[in-house]
Amino acid sequence: MKILTANRLTDGEAVWLCADHSWAETIDAAEIARDAATEEKLERAGKAAVCKNEVVDLALVDVELVDGRIWPKRLRERIRAAGPTNRTDLGKQARPDISIAA
């Protein structure tokens, strides 16, 4: 399983591609690709967003579902989704509506 991530051009915020081709600031909203065709679709949409100067640094990342929630396999991606592990008052984890922890 993979999801597509990038950083938003204007402020560098980590974002994930949703099914409606919008970019979410939280990983929960990402569209999951379970097959190669969907991966390709995500990548096409991502490249289009790069061309439109919405995002930079595209990457397809490996995830699994843990208790029904998206869980990136690499710590790097978990930290991108949550924020610095030493400062839980910073990054997405500091928002009241976000529960993910790296």
Binding site: N7, E13, K52, N53, V56, R80, G83
Partner: protein
């Protein structure tokens, strides 16, 4: 300290305006990321895991109160209320929006600062001994030469697209506090038998994937030849350095592959050809720059000794702080103070906007308006009257910056690692925090004595782990963090690269492993006067391997 002249002001202003225009064009979609990336990097703007990062140059680590206050202002206004001081005497902000960066650079320019050449394959911020101009053991202040190099290397047309980045460090004392032997060029300012100033020149040191201690290519270079000789080195490198492989592109690889003798011959040949040219430094020019660095007029304060002695008796915590964080000054009535940014369990090198403001006030009132950033990620007040140490301590204590640990095991260098850095393999900060908490007791730290522990989150070695007495390198193995320990490294006048002791440790194990290393040292040292490095150099890795790996070590 150095003040911008008309030319400097114009140059930085023009550059700020140019970059503001580039950012506008990028945001409007007129520049692609491929076109924009090299432009933003030349202005210190990186993209990290959570946001952009802006790296601000602090030339040879010297700041005025006004400048430090501006950094606090930027932290508060555009960032998240803190900044991170780095091993290159720079400051990084971790959260600026790209759209705010032009305004940040304009604010910086108003206090004679910028972010130019803090990235890219050019000559980077020139670093220097953080006690420069103050240390009792110094031959001469290295900063005028660092400033001459800064002016010469700024947007140098010939050296803006080198095979790879290029770092120069200068020290003016026998005791090397600037780690010059792990820089592309290391300059040791000294006097010859005739009492003239000049430099011992080291080339090809570096850490990263392939660490090397620099080779000495000149025992004494007259000061007037500083720029000609540096140009000769850069020319040989620019011409022959490898551009086919990023990992082999630094000058250290060229030195290694060419051999010191042959490389020295090439440098000397180029030097001979250009020595009498326009780069020869007239004494009047050196003098003009030196005047900017004239030390402040220090009034006699002979009452210091008495005040200090009674304050120490009254307050043991103050006595510990004086012992660890106060360095001898040229003027016996004065001292240089290390402000530890390594509070127990804190993030090495981080300071809040309020702390920066408070240090700026303190420097203005009690330290002649001067602050330094050390490559060990601390702040320094170079000129403090000993009579004022008690007051300085009290005020640092009030803002949580009076930790008495300079040079001790909790004075840890750590890079941002995987909590921020896009290149990281593992976290550094969390490891530093855990170790700091483990060894947090003042008595225990003092019992252990001088011990430099340095942590990097990947092989790029921004955390200087190769030259840590104990070094920790984070790697990624099968999706988890693993930490390798190196022992016996040192970044001083007797530089050595640490040796890997054996297999790595997990995040859960690493603090225990460090504790084992330290306990092993305590058990085998001849007495307290034999510090960790001396003991390691005497006994080698074997007892530490045995303690860490037991039977496994014997089998290996």
């Amino acid at each position: 300290m150095y003040r911008y002249d008309e030319f400097d002001h114009q140059f930085v202003k023009a550059r700020t305006a140019e970059f503001a225009d580039q950012v506008d064009r990028r945001l409007a979609g007129e520049l692609t990321e491929d076109q924009f990336k090299p432009l933003r990097l030349m202005n210190g703007v990186y993209l990290q895991l959570h946001a952009y990062m802006l790296r601000i140059a602090i030339p040879y680590g010297t700041l005025s109160s006004r400048q430090l206050r501006m950094l606090a202002h930027i932290a508060r206004t555009y960032d998240k209320g803190y900044g991170h001081f780095t091993t290159r005497q720079n400051l990084q902000f971790n959260w600026p929006a790209l759209s705010d960066i032009p305004q940040i650079l304009a604010d910086l320019a108003s206090v004679e600062m910028h972010a130019i050449q803090t990235s890219g394959n050019c000559i980077r911020n020139v670093t220097a001994d953080h006690f420069a101009g103050a240390a009792a053991d110094e031959v001469a202040d290295p900063r005028p030469y660092a400033e001459i190099l800064r002016q010469w290397s700024s947007v140098h047309p010939e050296f803006s697209f080198l095979p790879r980045k290029f770092k120069i460090a200068v020290t003016g004392a026998e005791r090397d506090r600037a780690a010059i032997q792990v820089h592309d060029i290391g300059l040791h300012l000294k006097k010859n038998a005739a009492g003239e100033l000049g430099f011992a020149v080291y080339v090809g040191g570096g850490q990263g994937r392939t660490p090397f201690v620099a080779k000495k290519v000149r025992d004494f270079l007259p000061e007037e030849d500083l720029l000609t000789y540096t140009t000769a080195i850069l020319r040989v490198y620019n011409l022959n350095g490898r551009r086919d492989n990023k990992y082999k592109a630094r000058i250290k690889i060229l030195v290694h592959e060419t051999g010191t003798e042959e490389l020295t011959r090439q440098i000397e040949a180029e030097f001979a050809a250009i020595r009498e040219g326009e780069l020869k430094l007239p004494q009047a020019d050196i003098d003009a720059i030196e005047r900017y660095f004239t030390p402040p007029a220090l009034p006699a304060r002979p009452e210091g000794t008495v005040i200090e002695t009674s304050a120490k008796l009254a307050n043991p915590a103050f006595a510990s702080w004086v012992k660890r964080n106060v360095n001898p000054h040229k003027n016996p009535d004065y001292a240089s103070v290390t402000i530890s940014l390594k509070g127990i369990g804190e993030v090495p090198g981080d300071a809040t906007d309020a702390q920066m403001d408070a240090v700026a006030d303190l420097a203005e009132e009690l330290a002649f308006d001067e602050i330094r950033v050390s490559h060990e990620q601390n702040l320094i007040l170079p000129h403090v009257a000993r009579a004022d140490l008690k007051e300085v301590y009290k005020r640092l204590e009030a803002i949580g910056l009076a930790t008495a640990n300079a040079g001790l095991v909790t004075d840890i260098i750590a890079c941002p690692g995987l909590d921020y850095c896009a290149l990281a393999n593992a976290r550094s900060i969390s490891v530093a925090q855990e170790i700091s908490n483990r060894f947090g007791s003042q008595a225990r730290q003092e019992e252990i004595g001088e011990l430099k522990l340095k942590i990097s989150g990947c092989i790029n070695a921004c955390g200087h782990h190769h030259v840590g007495h104990i070094g920790i390198l984070g790697v990624e193995k099968k999706g988890t963090e693993l930490y390798q320990i190196t022992l016996g490294g040192s970044g001083d006048e007797n530089t050595s690269i640490g040796e890997i002791v054996g297999r790595g440790f997990t995040a859960e194990e690493i603090a225990d492993a460090i504790e084992t290393v330290v306990e092993t040292y305590l058990a085998l040292r001849t007495d307290k006067s034999e510090d960790f490095l001396a003991a390691y150099r005497r006994v080698g890795a074997a007892p530490f391997k045995q303690a860490l790996y037991g039977a496994e070590a014997k089998a290996a």
